[in-house]
Amino acid sequence: MLRSVASLPLPGSVQARLRNQGFVYCEDLCSEKGYDSEGEKVMKQLGIDERLASLTYVPPTKSALDVWHDECLSPRIVTFSKAVDDMLDGGIAVGEITELCGAPGSGKTQISLQMCVDVQIPRSFGGLSGEALFIDTESGFTPDRLKEIAEACVDHCQLVALHQNEQDMGQQIEKFTVDTIMQGLYYTATHDYVELVAAIYSIKEFLQQKRQVRLVVVDSVAFPFRSGILNSLQRTRALCDIMQELKMVAMRYNVAVLVTNQLTTKVGPANESRLVPALGDSFGHYSSQRLMLGCLQRECYAAVLFKSVRRKQSSAKFQKEASSMKQADLRVMVKRAFKSVCTSTIVVFPNPLCPIPSTLSAVKTPEDTEEDL
């Protein structure tokens, strides 16, 4: 059995021309012995002669042992909540998509901001010394809050450095300040799904310039798609494209991708209703890990691992406990009911007069934007 030309990633017009000239199979174009002289001529005409190798690229095969080895070496971004870290096998995985879903006020954005800070923890502290890219669709990003989290994180690291008294740590802690954390976060805001799709397609280019970035956050991927502009078929399609691109970015550039999702009400056959993650089943199929967040009562939050290949479904509570003050300090997000705090100090952000860049080259750090305001 031969490979049909139609199974090559070529545009329809090129395929039609090949068919008209009698090239039905790839083997017509080039056999094992080498290129067919006529085939070569046609490919040159169509401008695909040099690309044929990449068109028929065979992905490499690895043994499970190698995959395991790579997995063990791949770093994790800690969440600083021991229960959640344990549940996620040590934190958010680099090279994968992790999905956070939850009702309003369940702490999705808070965890996202926390991760943006955590990814920047210096290497000697067990961090990644990375940077983060934050794509905001809900205008839920608050620099004040980020600053608070950053302060807590720096305080914590200083405390660790004081106790450990290692030279590496001492040197790196000096460079690890709230300012550098704020510098190390790239922020982009999108206002509708078109901008979001454009922003996601430009991540690749952005990451080529900023090699330090190890975390990409999309908060939230659901919001722009729930306006009802797209019908469900178009929506599924657009979401698949987004997730495919994010998956590719995560793998190729070895970054962690964190997307947040909202909840929707589903009515069952017996008219009972329950809350399920929004955006449908096809979307859920893409994320390799799905974490559901919920607020149990004041100051007590819970995370449930909904889907994971590695870990069984489990749940964890994270809350402020007197015995683990250090952790709680850092995990400022659980100190208070944040939604109320945030709304009172919310900054109109970003400047509505400045057009949102469709490429990320013009992305500003939060501080720059504050000056604009």
Partner: protein, 376 residues
Amino acid sequence: MATALQRPLRSRISIVQYAATRSVTSTKPDTQNDQCRKVTRMARLCTQMNPLLEEDVLKSLHQREICTVVDILQESPDKLIKITKLSFKEILQVRQSIIANYSAFPIKGIDTYNELLSNTAIIPSGVEGLDVMIDGGFLTGKIYELCGASASGKTQLCLSIATHIAHDFKQQVHYIDTKTDFSGKRVQEMLEAKGYHDEVSGAVMERIQVTRVQDIYELFSFLQHLKTSLHHEQDGQHSIRIVLLDSLPVLFLPFLGNNLNDGWGLMNQLANTMKYIVTEFHVTFFVVNLAVHFSEEENIATDVNKECLSQAGNLVVSDTVKPALGKYWLDVPCTRLFIHKIDSSDSRQITVMKSTYLSTRKHCKVTIQPQGVISA
């Protein structure tokens, strides 16, 4: 030997039996067929096909848009004489030789049966309840499908099967991973939970070959590559007997909407390639499909498989869930298994949703444990 095809196997097929079916090297009766394979089979006319098809003859044929084998067979001899300036006899000779080269040869029924017997194997999944349900295991030469909602344990079952075959039969397993879901850590955990030594586990994991494909085109390239490498194998060697593909819908979702026809065309080609590989090299394809709730995904290109669902009458959730990929794909797998959550978070039920040889009412209960998917 006949036991290999006897369906009502109550117990799990023994390893010995499996090994026996495997080790038999069949001396292929159809040497003629083998020779045919060596001829480069191309659709485009070329000088190697027949000495009468010389360069200038081909040139004049191409000018009249007769480029492929099908074109020349469809054209009337009168016209061909005019175009090529060959005699009637020569034209017939060319046609004869092309037909002889390109048509399939009839083989005696008994020969195909014997070949099937000596080459078919039953591959146990390693999950006891599932094996009983599917009469001992997966038959080679067939395509199986597993569908289920998100987080229902599809990947877990795939990993279990891969681990089981790589360990119990010391065979290579191909695992095609389309959404980077394959987890080496999970496989290692399964092996550890089963109590194997590190060296054994290492060897098992060495035998599981993982290929990560990004899109449907890469999958085609990989399958062609797999086909070529299986071609070079000696008869009866059967180094690979199962290929797992997790998961399929991800590859076709980008074609939703305006490109739906392209997607169907590619789906057809994929089915074709898979069927060729399973029958020609006696392997099993185990593909994973997604089940979606149709209240939410009403406009998605899938059709409600109402008939198939009503047959599986004991499904509680079936009326709200349907497999993706639509009706066309329904034809491709010989058996479609449906996995869904019941009661607690660890137990699952697997049901036969469609099958050419199993009763569709059959079902079994399994649980997901550290050592993999096991019978409940």
